[in-house]
């Protein structure tokens, strides 16, 4: 038996440590440990709820936007405040554009190097890669021989300098790297081109958000973008069509390159559909609200038990009691203590008192708490969302999933079923499917906004009013990494308690009150490891979740002690 500690896990957001016990080439036990903690929710206590989103957004700069969106939803939920349609559409466009950027960057920049051997790409035939590209992605305009050759020359020149920088520590030539050289070269070509397209997606977020990362156009009750087609310095038709141009450009890459790449790489690593399923109880939430109250959504979400799509139970509105009442967090194995009993707590009653110890295999070992849904561990993320949307009969999701499975089946030479998605490679494939769905939604939301403005509706903001006494609220969002929810208790217009239950908390959490493993840990068991010194296979499964540790580690301090604040005025 060998013990592996990988610290830090790189190509993720934040500070994550993974420990595994390996026996006979397989992982037998795993631990997931968050290694950084800031206490943003403690900082929020006593502040103006209208400011919460500016702070909460800084929980994460990769998941930028998402915490801001869910934070304003949370305060609006506590106030029963409706949001003008234009504001919903503008928020939805930022959600989708950011999600597209995030999914592109995850596949190419963060996870591809686990599967694609860049060094092998250097010796590939550019002609073979161009030919492959023409077959695999005939609609994509940047697979030409000159383009591929140019990128290969650039990479060769880079390696030739001997200064390999962040690429020096890669797993090139690892026995688990199995792609043919021309596939590696095509993927490496798209690796560099993806950087340009993710910028394209971000231009959309920047136009609406004023900046990105960390947008600055939100308000509790709407958005700060004024709409007035007869004035300057507002969201004019010129701005809207600047966005439209960027949306159209994104289509060529998402549908032309990302989906075929993921399908082909997945098919060539078909054995990985047999690894990494882990927890197959899935949770997602609906998103892209289409009305001012949050009762109709463009994208469905809900709970699926044991990977069985027929068990799908939808979550239907911002007032959904099924979701609200099911969430709890355990700290038995996390570096916190609950006063008055250590049993798992609902977020409204949650508290976090840091209690750091050594890394204890059977005790406390992480800054991440362990959330449960009706006392069960659940997996969240694009896979959970795609399965829910398929179960709910969402046509675009079914269509894009079918396309990915068709390409993969062709490349693999054998039919690949939907059930293959319950795996390490399935999580990556589902993310690409969701990316294509988001792009289609982005197009739709843009049209809805333009149509609504054309009707003469320029409303973007409803003023929030904070009543005396206590108001509780929650908000959720299907973020790029899965279910995100914020919970707030407002007292006399000030924040009394705030908590975020974050996608990577669901997935990266340690063992819970019942000592059940979290999704990362469960998915690592039985994962192959050829060489414990170079644990590439462990990284494949961990990266397939797209970890985000700044998000996962958060804090609620609900000790009900008033915090004495020294303010500038």
């Amino acid at each position: 038996m060998t013990r592996i500690t990988i610290d830090p896990i790189t190509r993720i957001e934040g500070h994550l440590r993974i420990d595994c016990e390996v026996d006979n080439g397989k992982v037998t036990k795993a631990w997931s440990s968050g290694q950084m903690w800031r206490g943003i929710e403690t900082i929020l206590k006593g502040r103006d709820p209208r400011d919460a989103w500016l702070f909460a957004q800084r929980i994460c700069g990769v998941c930028t936007t998402v915490h801001a969106i869910v934070s304003v939803r949370t305060v609006e939920n506590a106030l029963g405040l409706e949001v003008p349609l234009n504001a919903q559409y503008i928020r939805n466009m930022m959600i989708t554009a950011h999600g597209i950027h995030d999914h592109i960057v995850h596949f190419y920049q963060l996870t591809a190097l686990d599967w694609v051997d860049i060094v092998s790409a250097l010796s590939a035939s550019p002609e073979a890669a161009a030919k492959l590209g023409a077959t695999l992605s005939p609609d994509y305009p940047h697979n030409s021989l000159p383009e591929i050759r140019k990128i290969q020359e650039k990479l060769k020149a880079f390696v030739g300098t001997g200064q390999l920088g962040v690429f020096a520590s890669g797993y090139w030539g690892h026995p688990a790297m199995k792609l043919p050289p021309e596939v590696n070269l095509l993927a490496a070509t798209h690796y560099l081109q993806a950087l340009e397209y993710q910028r394209t997606a971000n231009r959309i977020v920047a136009i609406l958000g004023g900046k990105t990362p960390h947008i600055q156009n939100l308000a509790v009750g709407g958005v700060a973008n004024p709409i007035n087609p007869d004035s300057q310095s507002t969201l004019t038709l010129e701005r809207l069509y600047a966005i439209k141009t960027e949306i159209d450009k994104l289509g060529e890459f998402v549908n032309g390159a990302l989906l075929p790449d993921v399908a082909a790489v997945g098919a060539l690593y078909a054995d990985w559909t047999g690894h990494g399923a882990g927890i197959t109880d899935y949770l997602s939430v609906p998103d892209l609200p289409l009305d001012s109250k949050g009762t109709q959504f463009a994208l469905p979400g809900g709970y699926i038990a044991k990977g069985d799509l027929s068990s799908f139970k939808p979550i239907t509105s911002y007032q959904d009691g099924y979701f609200r009442d099911g969430v709890k967090e355990s700290v038995k194995h996390a570096w916190y203590e609950y006063q008055g009993g250590d049993g798992a707590r609902h977020p409204y009653d949650g508290q976090t008192n840091p209690h750091h110890t050594a890394f204890q295999d059977d005790g406390k070992y992480s800054w991440v708490k362990a959330p449960t849904f009706y006392n069960q561990r659940v997996q969240v993320g694009p896979l959970a969302n795609v399965l829910a949307m398929v179960a709910a009969g969402h046509e675009p999701t079914q269509r894009h999933l079918k396309r990915v499975l068709d390409i993969a089946s062709t490349v693999a030479g054998t039919p690949i079923p939907v059930a293959a998605l319950h795996s390490t490679i399935g999580r990556i494939a589902a993310r690409a499917v969701r990316c294509a769905v988001l792009l289609e939604s982005l197009q739709n939301q843009w049209q809805l906004l333009v149509n609504n403005i054309a009707k003469g509706d320029f409303d973007t903001f409803n003023r929030p009013v904070f009543p005396k006494g206590e108001n509780r609220g929650f908000g959720y969002h299907e973020a790029p990494r899965g279910v995100l929810s914020h919970w707030i208790v407002i007292e006399n217009g000030k924040i009394k308690n705030y908590q975020a239950v974050v996608p990577s908390t669901w997935n990266a959490g340690p063992r819970d009150d019942a000592d059940s493993m979290g999704p990362y840990e469960a998915s690592l068991v039985d994962n192959p490891v050829a060489n414990p010194e170079l644990p590439l296979e462990v990284l494949r499964t961990v990266h397939s979740f797209d970890p985000c540790l700044a998000c996962a580690v958060h804090l609620v301090d609900a000790d009900n002690q008033p915090i004495v604040r020294v303010k500038a005025f």
Binding site: E13, G39, G160, G162, W172, I207, Q216, N217, N228, S231
Partner: protein, 389 residues
Amino acid sequence: MEQVEDHAIEVGTVQDLDGYQGALGGLTRREFLSYCTGVAATLGLSSMMGLRIAAAATAPARPPVIWLSAQECTGCTESLLRAYHPTLETLILDMISLDYHEALCAGAGHQAEAYRAQSMKANWGKYILVVDGSIPTKDGGIYCMVAGRPILETVREAAEGAAVIIGIGSCASWGGIPSSDPNPTGAQSVHAVLPGKTVVNIPGCPPNPYNFLSTVLYLLTFGKPPELDSKNRPRFAYGRLIHENCERRPHFDAGRFALEFGDFGHRQGFCLYKIGCKGPETYANCPAIGFGDVGEGNWPVGIGHPCFGCTEEGVGFTKPLHALSRVKTYAPPTAFPAVDATKGEGVTPAAVAIIAGAAGLAVGAGAMALRGMDGKDESAAGSSHDSER
């Protein structure tokens, strides 16, 4: 690989580092070469490439950069993904050698850490150190652990061998959001944990990517850091209040204000001061260069949201969003030449001085200094048109 290898490399070009303090981690030259060929072998490259790696490690063509991440959110790195001139790929493939960056390293765990240690040793005294995130100092620094040790220790160690230290983002520059009251983890800025060292601060949450990139370009072009203000911020980026270059400034001077999102003034593009804009007390170039390369006027105030002072200690994450800012400048329209000034004579400098002096008395600012725009002397006042340095 043939193209890579056909340039034979002289083993003699590997500089002798045996006498170099901290270099090679106590390895002899032979052991160091052996290490580098080992790296090459791990990468599936030839031993000749190992020699090239060794040569590059000791005489780098692109300056090595060690990027350490502390209590951060990766927003600063994400901001670089949005840059166009240069792009992130141009930066790391052609301009610098990014030898360590937790979010970007291909390898993980001890593979990444070993390469960082090797690069630092080979380039001791020569590398650029970049830190994002604040440094937790409470409880021995346990609130941010990387590779089994507090990031505080790693930052201090890396700073010893750095030629230049850059703190990117408000967290690294002045503590940022983790240091907000009640500062649960004892979060401090990078310069606060490196007494005696100069840290070039690039505040912002995240900063405009060009403020970081231009600092690096400045280093590469001039071989020295850019001119800094009293808070060690580059003047080219933080030398002016937002209020001084804001395109909505004329509305401020004319008294035209938005009072609420979506009201008449907001939909006319009026000044956002009364919604809580902190532009009048925040030093940054946001209105001058914008965000996202998507055209004119693309920055928070430009699209209709008040500045909340993310670059400025004591403003961002401290003052409420909808609280009025403390206006550090004032605009005395009476000091402007009258439109009907007598032809041929104009307004005399003496006349302006008298009027300006009166205005200065009126607002209680005794010193009408021409400084005060540089963040050095916050008590000094002056309007933008008379404060040209």
